[in-house]
Point group: C2
Chain length 217, copies 2
Amino acid sequence: MITVALAKGALLKDSVARFSEAGLDFSAVLDQDNRHLMVPSVCGRARALLVRNGDVPVYVAYGQAQLGVVGYDVLKEHQMPVAQLVDLGFGGCRMALAVKASSGYQRSTDLPPHCRVASKFTNCAREFFNELDLPVELVHLTGSVELGPITGMAEAIVDLVATGRTLRDNGLVAIEDLFQSTARLVGHPLALRLDCGELQSIVDSIRDQNDQHKESV
Amino acid sequence: MITVALAKGALLKDSVARFSEAGLDFSAVLDQDNRHLMVPSVCGRARALLVRNGDVPVYVAYGQAQLGVVGYDVLKEHQMPVAQLVDLGFGGCRMALAVKASSGYQRSTDLPPHCRVASKFTNCAREFFNELDLPVELVHLTGSVELGPITGMAEAIVDLVATGRTLRDNGLVAIEDLFQSTARLVGHPLALRLDCGELQSIVDSIRDQNDQHKESV
């Protein structure tokens, strides 16, 4: 039985579509009334685990799911030992450094040393500021990071930006990008090595669709 | 201006009621259409920050909020330097160790050494197992911890249990309690020390209501 870890939320619909084209129909997870966290595919060959973003790499790393779909931002933040197989292209956003529009800061190096930076992605932020050799105090928040600068707790935030609307609504402006993120197909390394072709055919099919998607753009 | 950090979710309604009785009316945060994260009180003397559970101690510890309401479970997990002022009594639940009902484990010491335990509260779980001197591998998950035993990733979970329905629905059973949790009024230690009476009168008022609530039970 193949198990696929899918992230609830923004990536779910596209993830289901890709697996569906590869022959595994998990569309039951899109049903608004679905309350199950483990959903079999229509063919019965596979099942989907419906978990939170940050938990996808955990289930794949521990081998409870052989495949999974999750954003590159999560993979970079959590650094779990999973194999990145395909860049799926959807779920595009960027990890950005943002400040109050009224602050006058134009770039990361304008930030005063030892200032506070709030983020849900403190590992990504730490790496970025270490490379700049700019010492900052990172404050880990679990949500609504834009409140950091508004309340005066932090000079800046590091957060995911898709449309930029949340930033604008809160008087913030992105001044630098750390990296771009898209959804990735990931796999359990050992499961891929021991695979008799079943996993590989799914991965190949998703990779082929991906190439077609790219060509059609 | 007094700032109060309130946790979104299950504790919000009761938190607002307690502050309302103490003269600060934040009922606007309960409005379903409210999208603001910072809401002034009706009297204009104070404002509420509407943040996630785990972020309440952060805003209070950094002094961006002088007061806050959050569950004891979060305080114990995050160990931020905030003053615990009043046990508010509501939001009761317990942190429990749970296993598959079919596993046959009756108590924590039945668990095999080096087994996996999944939890959102890995600090609480670590302390518990350290005291037992039982070495386990803790797996940090961010949601739906009950999937851990179901998928076979973990032998047990440590999680908050209120009614026990989620456990039952997933074929799990609680075998031991780590601690009881209720909502707590917390404060920024320095703000309380420098207070000219304004904060103290709110704290006193909430403490008095609390005593009355207890007496009426």
